[in-house]
Structures are given as structure tokens and as C-alpha cells.
Amino acid sequence: MKYLLGIILLSVTLLNCSKDDDYERGNWVSRSIFDGVPRSNAVSFVIDNMGYAGTGYDGDDYLNDFWQYNIDGDYWVQKATFPGVPRTSASAFSIDGKGYVGIGYDGLDELSDFWEYDPITNAWTQKADFAGGPRMSAVEFAVNGIGYIGTGYDGANERKDFWKYDPTIGEDGEWTEIPGFGGNKRRDGATFVIADKVYLGTGVSNNVYVTDFWMFDPATEVWTKKMDLDEEDDYSIVRSNAVGLSINGLGYIATGYSGGAVATLWEYDPSIDAWENITSLEGSARQDAVGFSTTDRGFVLFGRSGSYYLDDIFELLPQQEYDDED
């Protein structure tokens, strides 16, 4: 009897100890615990500390519903439906308090239409079509009042051209090509923005994962090649359909697809051009998720794991210690 008690006590103590054994940086906090708005390949942008997400694919239908996520309150508001055709793998960014959503795929065709969302009036206005032609699975970002869309898939080929959108030119804004991207064509790449510089990597071309990594300076429109994503033997950053985030001056590539859904998280430090592997997403490994980045907070939401479409949201707290109970 005493032995039995002793064994139980010992194993409980050991279990507790093993938890505190080593420090693991990076913590994910589950935000929503219920069934929500499951989908993959949605679009997202952030305006005034509110996340906006919509469109995508839920396994049965292409979607055009559009939601606001109150980051501080952790709740959702259904907003005015996106007026373009329901679509997946579209692109979106925000400029000066307005959201922009366009291109994508409706199940039959790649698309080139482009729309502006005003969160104050909760209304959509059609703007100038994307001048690079119909495409899906592109990358997109916005810096200093200008939006950019590049790479992607046009229905026949992966692309490597980049275009910039200035909403202040004319009624509908204007698209202009910016030459000079020396990297691979790709679809389903990821970007993050740190201190007005854009970092681009990951994605897939002709069924091969691309390994090049680039920095774009919108002020000079010059692309600079950075260290390849497979430069170090222990790097496993290479993937497609990932989420790019930036939090407090560091970049993140989270989740994605690499022969299967991925949960791993890599942190990029632009000052030393190096990557570090920190705590993987504490939820289902997933591809085609989206992210919200404010200046100091980052979230990963939606996506799919095989044919299982996800609705949960996680906040990434990269400087916290891993805690499996939150």
C-alpha cells in the first residue's frame, strides 16, 4: 500500500517537473473556443485595431460574407457583404482607413475586379481592375498609402510581376507595374512588413517550393535578395500557403503546407537576416489560414487541415514562455 502511494506521488511529482524542465519561447493563446465562421483562403486586413476578414471557401461554397473582428472584445460583427462574386484566394490590404479586396478565383475563373471598403459607412465601391490581369493566390501588402499585388497564378502560369495601386489617382485609383523583382515566380507566397520594408518568401512554382527570400523597399522600389530559406541545415521554413505576420519589429512565417498541413512557426530578425524556430501553433496544423497584424499583436485564424475547415483564432505572443494551458 505504501509502495503504491509512493509510486503515485512520485509520478505526479515527475509529471509536474517535466513541464518546467526547459524554457520554450513563444506562446499561442486560443481566443475563440466555439464554432464560428470556418473557411480557408479568406482575405484579411486591419483598420484601427479592428480585424476584417471575409470571402474564402468552406468546402462546399465560395463565400462573399464579410466580418469585423473586435480584437479587444474578442467578438465578431457581420458587415456588408462583399459585392463582387463569391471567391477564394483573393488579395486584400488597407490604406488610410479603407480596406481593399480584389482578384481571386470563383471556382471557374481567375478574377481581376477590385473593391474598396469604407468601415465608417460600411459600404463597398468598385475601383480600377487589377491591371496585371485575372489571377489568384498572389501576395499583397501596403506601405505609406500605396498597395501592392504581385506573383500568383493566372490560370495557366505562376507569375512574378508586381503592381502598385495608388487610390488617390483619379476616381478609381490607378495600377502601375513596378519592374525589378528578381525572384522566382510563385503562388501562395507570404509577406510581412517591418519598418516600412516588405519581406517576401515561401510559395510554390510548378509544384516545387521556392526557397528565395527578398526585401522590398517601397521608397526606392528596389528588391534586395536575402539569405535563402533553406540556407541553414536546421531551417524548415520552406512551405506554401503560410501566414506572414509582423509583431514588434520581428517577422513571422506561421503554418502552411509542405506535403501536408504545417503548424511550425519561424521568427525572422531583419537586423541579422536570420531565422529562429519558436513554439508551433497550439492548434490544428493548417494551410490557407489568414492573419491579423497590428503593430504589437499578431493573430492566426481560419484555414484548413485536409478537408476540415477551421474557425478558431489564436494570438501569438512570441516573447512569452510556452504555456499549454491557455
Binding site: F34, W67, V77, Q78, K79
Partner: protein, 131 residues
Amino acid sequence: MFAHRVNKYFGFFKMKQMNVKSKYLILFVLILSTSLISFIVLKTDISTKTKVYKASIYKYNEGYGYSISYDNKLFIKQDAIPVIETNQPFCNFNDAQKVANLVKEKLNNKENPNVSLQELKSLNIQLKCSN
């Protein structure tokens, strides 16, 4: 028959003689299994309770909004009519309640809670208030 009774009697007698250690072991196993069962019962009870979404209607800006909560945690808050391009709250309490119930039903059926324009129309939701 008689032998059986005797056996039973002696069996009881033997049990009385059981040593203290075994008694403690039985007690320990009893406590352990009781707590395990109550833990499982408690867990099951909670998970069935929290599977329910609740809707509530509130007054907002001369009109009505609704909120949907899950286990007392706010999930959807709708100050304005969803789907359409407006910041207009629902014109009356009944409209807000009809849409709130639709959303609640969808969530309880594990469906995407998005409302469509057709649904607003089929519920006869007033999209412009007459005042």
C-alpha cells in the same frame, strides 16, 4: 446447501479478519473510482451545457441590435443590420429577434453563422426604417 451456508459464514468471518492494509487499499480504490466517476460526470455535464448559444436583443440608437453569446462569452455583437451597406440598427425588436434566432440556430447546428440577403428578405426584415 448447508455447506454453502457454512462457507458463506466462514467467508464473512475471514473478511472480519482481513488485515488493515487491505482495508485501506479497498478504501483507496473506492475513493479513487468515486472521484473519477464524479469527474467524468461533471465534465460531461459542462460540455453539454456549453454547446448552447444564447441570443439577446438590446436597444441601440433608436433601434435594436442583437448579441449572441456562448457560455456567457460574447461571440457576435450586431449593432447594425448585417449583410447590407448600412449602419442602421434593426427598425424593431421583432426583426432583431428573428435574425438573432436564425444565427443562433445556425450556430447550434454547427453551421457558418453568416446571414444572406435572401434570408433577410424571407424573414421580411425592414431594411429602411420609416421615420
